[in-house]
């Protein structure tokens, strides 16, 4: 102990203490933190087990904002009656759990595994009736009419999401996210549940077939394998991107060419 106290004024003492404290905190966290994987590996197939697992996950990861029973707090909305589809969308697209408060929760790498999301969804669905997670037959792009979907998309969605789903701005930093690379299931669920600033389009306003048509359209113009017939599409953002490109690469290249032509002129004598 004497040795230790002799060195307590050493210039690096503070650093050592800090490292020890950090290691201790981290170690304690690792020991006592919810062992997500261990719980999820429980292979609980029965609905009741899922709800139980979901409740545990909910208590740890969601309750601080949404309340212990999903009743909502000042920091987060009530989840009674939002349905499994809402949970599958919000957690499955990584929007929840929220990383930081802001105008809107952005899409990000998801935190929970498929099984955990299923469990969470089962728990939230048990709080009150709401839309269920759709079957894959309902949202597969192949089952939709592209032309009709395009029409529906331009009537209902393009105001915020842009002609081809490239996203757009809303007030005060909120935004309609780009739909590039969004899973068809999530598009379906978003329409069904109306997450964040988006209005909901329940089956009464957009039937299941309408939704599938819209998904088919998006797959055609904005999917991973969507063709760009005209060449490089400049992000599909329209005249702003085109103007910028025209000025910088079009006129810019021509100015370079002009400089080159002006620099190479007939000379009175060769040098």
């Amino acid at each position: 102990m004497k040795k230790l106290s002799a060195r307590r004024r050493h210039p690096l003492a503070a650093l050592v203490v800090l490292l020890i404290a950090l290691a201790a905190t981290g170690g304690l966290y690792a020991t006592f933190a919810p062992a997500d994987k261990a719980q999820a590996q429980g292979e609980s197939t029965s609905q009741q087990d899922k709800i139980e697992t979901g409740k545990k996950l909910f208590t740890v990861g969601c309750a601080s904002c949404h309340g212990t029973g999903g009743q909502g707090t000042t920091d987060g909305p009530q989840l009674v009656g939002v349905g499994a589809a809402a949970v599958d969308f919000q957690v499955g697209s990584g929007r929840m759990p929220l990383q930081q408060p802001g105008a809107q929760a952005p899409r990000k790498p998801r935190v929970y595994s498929d099984d955990e999301i299923e469990a969470l969804a089962a728990y939230v669905a048990s709080l009150g009736p709401g839309p269920a997670v759709p079957e894959s037959a309902a949202y597969a792009p192949s089952g939709g009419d592209v032309a009709r979907g395009g029409d529906l998309f331009r009537t209902n969605c393009a105001q915020c999401h842009n002609f081809t789903g490239k996203g757009g701005a809303l007030t005060d930093g909120k935004f309609a996210p780009p739909l590039d690379g969004v899973a068809p299931k999530h598009i379906y669920e978003a329409m069904q549940t109306g997450p964040q600033n988006m209005p909901a389009f329940p089956d009464k306003s957009l039937s299941s077939q309408d939704k599938q048509d819209i998904i088919a359209f998006l797959d055609e113009v904005n999917g991973d394998e969507a063709p760009s017939e005209g060449g490089f599409d400049l992000g599909g953002l329209g005249p702003v991107a085109e103007g910028l490109f025209g000025w910088i690469f079009g006129l810019g290249a021509l100015v370079v060419v002009a400089v080159w032509v002006a620099a190479h002129t007939a000379k009175a004598k060769k040098s």
Partner: protein
Amino acid sequence: MSTTTTTSTRRGKAPAGEKIADWADGRLGIYGLAKANMRKIFPDHWSFMLGEICLYSFIIVILTGVYLTLFFHPSMAEVEYTGAYAPMHGVRMTEAYASTLDISFSTRGGLLVRQIHHWGALIFVAGMALHMLRVFFTGAFRKPRELNWLFGFLLLVLGCVAGFTGYSLPDDLLSGTGVRFMEGAILAVPIVGTYIAMFLYGGQFPGNDVIPRFFSIHVLLVPGIMLGLLVAHLILVFYHKHTQFAGPGKTNNNVVGMPFLPVYMAKAGGFFFLVFGVIAIIAGTTSINPVWVLGPYRPDQVSTGAQPDWYMGFSEGAIRAMPAWEWNFLGHTVNFGVFIPLVVVGILPALIALYPFFESWLTGDKREHHMAERPRNAPTRTAFGAAWISAYFVLMIAGGNDLWATHFHLSINAITWFVRVGLFVVPFLVFVFTKRVCLGLQRRDRDKVLHGRETGIIKRLPHGEFIEVHEPLPQGEMHRLTSHDQYAALEAGPSVDDNGVVRKQSLVEKLRVKMSQGYFGEENQIPKPTVNEYEEITSGHGHH
């Protein structure tokens, strides 16, 4: 002509080209024309070729436009699409939109030509803007070129009109929104707005007339006027001769450069193909206005991210930034939210168009000017031009405010407020800043002339002092830095005349004096070094 006779006796037969030339000369007098113009001298500088970019892209746009008219149906009749683009099958659309899809997907080379046409148009207008800025900042608009400046300005405005009408023709959801926007702008004009809108659209929006009418405007009326103006513009360039930058042997009364034939004929011809090549490469690789994914126009549909092509972006921005003010005046709506931006959009270009007349009024200079000025030597003009550009840019930012918001994670409201304040503050700051930069550069020039170039060679004098050797500038460079004219600022003059009678000075005259002080007063331009100053300094110690 006599030469023909001699050659024919010597060789028996004149070459075919010569015969044709003789034949044409007898009817058109081309020898006289050629003699006068073939050896026309043009100065060499890359910035003098910006106008050529415009000329060539205009030709390219006309050529491709002619091809497109062969396949385009300017009709608003509704059809059900059954063409080659499967994702639109069965959608109801106008013939204009359907034929645009056909051009893009079923016409040989159609999509490429469409893209060359559109990219060429964007570059054409951008080229005109840049060309105009070059002329502005080098003072090449001064007498005798004011009229040609106006011709050029009209070409730019008409280029925008042609661009806007052309952009509207496919009748897709994007351009239809633009046509709707224009209707709103026209309706906002007090008293006559409604009548003009009803006249232009042939009734209530959208009607069945606007696309065919825009077609006539786009392919006939505007290009016709533009061609006329273009010819006049070029004739005046020949007549006035080109301006040149100062340099050894270059005076206000000569043009130093290369002859039109053969040098510029070759250069210009080659440059045409280079311009065509660059535009074709861009059009061949980069998509522009893919109307097939945008969908046909329907008045009940609208999309976010709907912007006009770049040259109309400032008008879009003005409307986006303007608060939605509205008066109800005796049962009539006066829509300031749209009308005031419309006035701004009119005033902003007019400011730059009328500037030459303002400057000649201010200086009272009636001489001809054939030397292109360096921007720094007209600090206030340069600062005004820069401020003008900044105002234009601020409005452009507003025009794309949604994309700024999404791509830079900003609040669109914050951008709107930035624009509302920035439209007034930013040009002011840019003006002050640019003027300081110009004055700084003028001081630098003065310093270089009087003290020479810093060589970086440090010399130790016998008594121990270290000095840096300054090398005098070459004569040519010295001339280049000092050949410009400097105006003296106007003085207010005495308030009473010789007889003690109060002199009447009009308000305009007082304003002119004040402005002149602002342009050419003591703090507003650095006097260029005089011969006396130079001699005084150089006759001294060798260094300083």
